[in-house]
Structure formats: structure tokens, C-alpha cells
Amino acid sequence: MNEIIGIFFITIGLLFDFFGCLGLLRLPDIYNRLQAATKCVTLGTCGILFGLFLFNGFSALGIKALLCIVFLLLTAPVSAHALARGAHKSGVRLWEKSVCDKYEEDRKS
């Protein structure tokens, strides 16, 4: 039973990872790409790790998978934030059809 649920989680995780990569290719600028990359890849990878945990239970491998989920949830948003901020500070433009850029306005004034 655990293995079936594990396979289910791993499939879902792979699917979301795939959507994340697709978003990385299709979306227009770095900020939108980071959105796809952070969200989908975080949950996708967490799904795969959780599936691995269900396969192995509370063994050495399963516990490490759970720890990896915690670290991933803590670090992925931070790195996305650092990349976005760095890109904006070094002058990467938003997509030309973007609606507004309050950050640019506030930094100029």
C-alpha cells in the first residue's frame, strides 16, 4: 500500500518538475521564470522526496528525505529572492508588457 502511494507522490512530483522546466522555457523574463522555477520545482522535488520516504518508512534513507524537504522549503524561496533582487539591482528589465514596477519608481526617487 505504501508503495502505491509512494509511486503516486513521485509521479506528481515529476509532473510538477516538468511543468517547472516548461515554465523556465516558455515564460518571457527572469522574474516570471523564477516564479515557475521556485514554486513548481520546490513542490515537485518535495513530492519526489516524500514518495521516497513512503517507500522506506522511518529508516536511515526515509528520515534523510524528510530532512531534505525541510531544508528545501527553507532555502528555495531565499535563493529565488536573492536572484530576483540581484537581477533587479544589476538592471535587468521587466518584460515589456509588464503592468507596473513600483520597485524601480521607488529606487529612482
Binding site: 517547472g20 523564477l34 516564479q35 514554486k39 513548481c40 515537485g44 536511515a60 522549503l73 503592468v99 524601480e104
Partner: protein, 164 residues
């Protein structure tokens, strides 16, 4: 001193999870290294250690987890839908929102939560003014108050109960 004790037990706990079937040798090494780490960097870890003793905060944290996971799942489905839609329905922009949170931990968790929830990603924080700049993949409102209402409110209340 309290901060050192908390860091000691936390790092020992993570170490024991890493080498799970616990035996004597690993436990000894863990105690030694966690003690060294806590001795050297303990006073930087938490500023207000008395918060760790309040059980209500843990209960709020347990409430925060399912809310956060549900939002995270919604975010993924939302992004997946935008990505596979042939017309690429996005309407991006950077908006400004306000927050009433003050402490570093609370702001970090708020920014992380915002990044992992539907359509939003934090770009910069100015803690002195309580201002966050958010990249929004589908801008619904450019106004500060309305954007704050939509993006920040649902997490701010819970996080202020946990970390403030």
C-alpha cells in the same frame, strides 16, 4: 545562555536524524560537535529565547503548516495552468505591499511564504519601513492597500502569532 542551550539541542537533533539508527559513537560525536557549535555561535541564534517556551506558538505553527501547504499546492497548479495554456495568460508586475511585522524571523517567514504561494514572489524587503516589493505574475490591483489585503493578510496574522 538560553539561546546556546536551544541551539545545542536543535543541532544535536538534526545530527541524530542525519545518522538515524542512533548508536553510542554517533551520539558522543554529536554531543561534542553540537556543544562546540553552540559555544561558538550560540549568542547569534535567537534574540528572544523565552519565546521557545510558549506552547501557544507551537500550536499556531501546527495551524500554519496545513494552510501553507494548501497555498503551496494551489500555487503549483496555478503556475502549471499558466505554463501549459497556449496563450500564456500572464500579466506581471512588481507591486508594493505593507506589513506590520517587525522581527527578522517573522519577516523572513512572511517573505518565504509569499514566494511559495500563488503567483507572488518577494523581490526586496525594507524592514525599517515595513515594506515588501512583490513580483506578481497576475497583477490584480496596483494600489498598496488592496495588494496588501490580497497578498499579505492571510499569512500575517498567523505569523505574528508565531514569531512576534
Amino acid at each position: 545562555m538560553k539561546s546556546r542551550i536551544i541551539l545545542f539541542f536543535l543541532s544535536l537533533f538534526i545530527w541524530l536524524l542525519l545518522c538515524w539508527p542512533v548508536d553510542g559513537e554517533h551520539l558522543l560525536i554529536g554531543v561534542l560537535v553540537a556543544g562546540l557549535v553552540a559555544f561558538m555561535t550560540g549568542d547569534m541564534f535567537v534574540k528572544r529565547p523565552h519565546h521557545f517556551l510558549n506552547p501557544l506558538r507551537y500550536l499556531w505553527f501546527l495551524y500554519y503548516l496545513p494552510v501553507f501547504l494548501w497555498e503551496c499546492l494551489k500555487a503549483n497548479i496555478d503556475v502549471a495552468r499558466r505554463v501549459i495554456h497556449p496563450d500564456l495568460p500572464i500579466n506581471p508586475g512588481i507591486v508594493k505591499v505593507k506589513t506590520s511585522l517587525k522581527s527578522d524571523t517573522a519577516l523572513t517567514f512572511l517573505a518565504n511564504s509569499i514566494t511559495l504561494t500563488p503567483g507572488t514572489m518577494s523581490v526586496d524587503i525594507i524592514p525599517e519601513e515595513g515594506v515588501l516589493y512583490i513580483h506578481w505574475i497576475d497583477v490584480k490591483d496596483k494600489d498598496i492597500e488592496k495588494a496588501t489585503e490580497i497578498i499579505v493578510r492571510k499569512f500575517e496574522k498567523i505569523i505574528s502569532k508565531i514569531f512576534e
